[in-house]
């Protein structure tokens, strides 16, 4: 292994009540990388991202961001370590305007000082958002909402972007656009950890991927290797 690790997940288990969704999961993301966690519905992919953001607590294991253990960090302070989370189904505030949603992304004290600058950056990245800035977020199309959700996450000035199923629930044409967005985010220099069911498409935009099945990492490797592997081809690409 070369280079420093940005995010390190080691031996993490987690669940909801009596139900355990993750068993001893370990993975890492290096600066500048784009990494995917793929796997079927219910494999624990969303749970994994929620544990990293501390929306739910891990029952075992450790998570480190640039060497800092998240163990004692309160959930609302995770974003200040440089981790921004684009949640499943976008989860915009539907009755706030686009710009108010973006403002919420810059809520952390450290982000407020650079609000103007980052707002301009997001509007340059997504000119559509500038056009719609006074529109209620809930009235936009799915693809536009995804732009807004990504923009909201970028407003905190993150180093690492967690993306949960960005293509879920979108029309096929829009799905293409969303993966283009992911490529652009990468090109801007963000490190990305993305969770996806859309295996074929996501493997084209990331460097490496982990296969998560029933809460356990089954396989990991470079995207080309996984695209060529029999297991992935048979189970996930239907080839």
């Amino acid at each position: 292994m070369t280079g420093e690790t940005m995010l390190e997940v080691r031996g993490v288990s987690a669940g909801y009540g009596g139900f355990r969704a993750l068993f001893d999961v370990s993975l890492e993301v290096k600066p500048g990388e784009a990494v995917a966690v793929i796997g079927p519905n219910g494999a624990g992919k969303t749970t994994l991202l929620r544990v990293i953001s501390k929306l739910i607590a891990a029952s075992a294991g450790e998570i480190r961001m640039e060497g800092t253990s998240l163990g004692s960090v309160p959930p609302d302070k995770v974003v200040e370590l440089g981790i921004a989370h684009v949640p499943e189904n976008r989860r915009l505030f539907p009755r706030l305007t686009v710009e108010e949603n973006l403002r919420m992304g810059a809520y952390a004290p450290s982000a407020r000082a650079r609000y103007r600058e980052r707002l301009d950056f997001v509007y340059e990245l997504f000119p559509r958002m500038r056009e719609r800035r006074n529109q209620l977020a809930g009235t936009m199309s799915g693809g536009e909402q995804q732009m807004c959700a990504i923009g909201r996450a970028l407003m905190s000035g993150p180093k690492l972007l967690l993306m949960d199923e960005p293509s879920a629930g979108l029309a096929p044409v829009i799905v293409q656009q969303v993966f283009k967005l992911v490529e652009r985010i990468r090109a801007e220099g963000y490190t990305v950890l993305i969770v996806e069911q859309n295996v074929q498409q996501v493997l084209r935009v990331v460097d490496r991927a982990y296969l998560l099945e029933v809460g356990t990492i089954r396989l990991s490797g470079r995207s080309e290797e996984l695209l060529a592997s029999d297991e992935i081809r048979q189970s996930y690409l239907g080839l």
Binding site: P75, D76, L96, M104, A108
Partner: protein
């Protein structure tokens, strides 16, 4: 047919509407954000009125300072109410929350009786009457109306222009993801409770200029405040604002045509009918 007394009644209704709107604002804010109805809201107003009376009449504290102290105290009461009573029942069925804040209502009434007795107390101030071409208006009501408008405007600016205000609106739409924004939901709830209590304190200072305070004063304002909020769509602050003026016209103009008591009867009858016609409120969101 121009009737100057009717015009006077209409304008008085508008002035009354301002006070009712201010009363409804705090209750609506708390419900809209925390999803809990403070049934004991008017008793917080009572605390504010007693505080002003106590400081002003007993200790000779200048009125503006007494008012500022009352607003601060009622605001703290809002925080305490949330921390001690609401928080333990946040996840429970709404009926539990209604019952427990209802319990606080009677507790506060009883405590006020114990502390201050059942006598009616007033500040002993005589507020001037303003005469405009044969129409008479109470200066206290004009002051209350003006303060209510300013209060609504300040609250609106706060909710739309600041990070904290935006978070207060956002949390009612999606509480779970607030930590992802760097927001601690508990702090937002406490801030909202402090503002809700503060609004009750402002209302108290306006009402103390017009009405005597006694342990059951909350029953004079509580039900009507609650009905205004429901009529406007619970949690909908703009709806509550408009509903306050509708209610005030029923009371004022109804009182003009019949007697003042009839005004209230008509207003409550209107409320009941509206619950059949549009139970989700006039302006449900």
């Amino acid at each position: 047919m121009f009737d100057i007394f009717l015009l006077e009644a209409v304008i008085n209704g508008v002035l009354l509407g301002g006070v009712l709107a201010l009363l409804a604002l705090g209750l609506n804010l708390v419900f809209g954000v925390i999803d809990v109805v403070w049934i004991c809201y008017a008793e917080l107003v009572m605390v504010g009125m007693y505080t002003i009376w106590w400081l002003f009449v007993h200790y000779g504290v200048p009125l503006p300072i007494a008012i500022a102290a009352a607003i601060a105290l009622v605001s703290l009461c809002g925080v305490a109410l949330h921390q001690l009573v609401i928080r333990p029942v946040l996840g429970t069925p709404p009926i539990n929350q209604l019952l427990v804040t209802g319990g606080v209502l009677f507790f506060m009434q009883a405590a006020a009786t114990l502390a201050f007795g059942v006598e009616f107390r007033n500040l002993g101030l005589r507020m001037p009457i303003v005469e405009v071409s044969d129409m008479f208006f109470s200066f206290a009501r004009i002051l209350a109306f003006g303060t209510a408008l300013v209060g609504v405007l300040v609250l609106w600016l706060f909710l739309t222009r600041t990070y904290l205000g935006t978070a207060i609106r956002a949390i009612s739409q999606d509480r779970e993801i607030m930590p992802l924004m760097g927001v601690d939901p508990r702090k937002i709830y406490l801030t909202t409770s402090a503002i809700g209590g503060g609004m009750a304190g402002v209302a108290a200072s306006l009402l103390a200029l017009q009405y005597d305070v006694h342990p059951a004063i909350g029953l004079s304002f509580g039900p009507i405040t609650f009905m205004i909020c429901v009529l406007g769509g619970l949690g909908n602050m703009a709806g509550g604002f408009i509903a306050a003026f509708v209610f005030a016209q029923f009371i004022s103009v109804g009182g003009f045509y019949f007697q003042i008591e009839w005004g209230y009867v008509l207003a409550f009858a209107f409320f009941i009918v509206m619950m059949f016609v549009k139970p989700q409120g006039l302006f449900s969101r």
